[in-house]
């Protein structure tokens, strides 16, 4: 059965800290891995990764994929209170539909 596992499930840090969120997966037909940030309502798209070893970066956030070891990490440097959210990892392991399999999410709380 295809599955995606995130760790830790929750994390509390102080502003300015650096955090690393983990996502491991087991799927039959890997196509892509996506990271989303969910605050109050809609998950918002952060990154899509399809190739190993190529870092995607956006401001203080970055992510990388290891297709050999079947995991991805999401790094956030110099955290701010606005980074507090649930971070969702999802994998497209479909053959032709694009349906996503989600992990449980990591709840990040950044304290002032």
């Amino acid at each position: 059965e295809d599955k995606v596992v995130q760790s830790p499930l929750s994390l509390v840090v102080h502003e300015g800290d650096t955090v690393t969120l983990n996502c491991s997966y087991e799927v039959t037909n890997f196509r892509s891995l996506l990271w989303y940030k969910q605050e109050k309502k809609a998950p918002t798209f952060l990154f899509m990764l399809t190739s190993s070893g190529i870092e995607k970066k956006s401001g203080r956030l970055s992510s990388i994929l290891d297709k050999k070891e079947l995991f991805s990490i999401l790094n956030i440097t110099a955290t701010q209170t606005g980074d507090s959210a649930i971070y969702l990892c999802a994998v497209d392991g479909s053959s032709n539909t694009g349906k996503l399999i989600f992990g449980q999410g990591t709840t990040l709380q950044v304290k002032p």
Partner: protein, 115 residues
């Protein structure tokens, strides 16, 4: 529209009633997905539309759940004879195509509460 729009944002109904949830995808997006997010659980896939057809309905939990899409745009998810375990946030997402390289963009969801 600018983003995926869902309505209603909240729905409270009595057990046994039917409910209809609506999703208006981003203009031009041909792929549309429904997911369900229950308390303490990750997002769970329900159904996928490409245009007006639904080639993957594998996530629908029972025959009380159905969905349709018309005009390659708006989709409705219908739950008949609602049960308390149907309480969840129902999220809709759309993308330009189903192929890899096209991320899904989500609406704010409908929070469904069954009394």
């Amino acid at each position: 529209g600018a983003g995926v729009s869902q309505s209603p944002s909240n729905k409270v109904t009595e057990k046994g009633k039917d409910v209809e949830l609506r999703c208006d995808p981003i203009s031009g997006h041909t792929a549309l997905y429904w997911y369900r997010q229950s308390l303490g659980q990750g997002l769970e896939f329900l159904i996928y539309f490409q245009g007006n057809s639904a080639p993957d309905k594998s996530g629908l939990p029972s025959d009380r759940f159905s969905a349709e899409r018309t005009g390659g745009s708006v989709s409705t998810l219908t739950i008949q004879r609602t049960q308390q375990e149907d309480s969840a946030v129902y999220l809709c997402a759309s993308s330009q195509f189903w192929t890899a390289g096209q991320p899904q963009h989500f609406g704010d969801g409908t929070r469904l509460s069954i009394l």
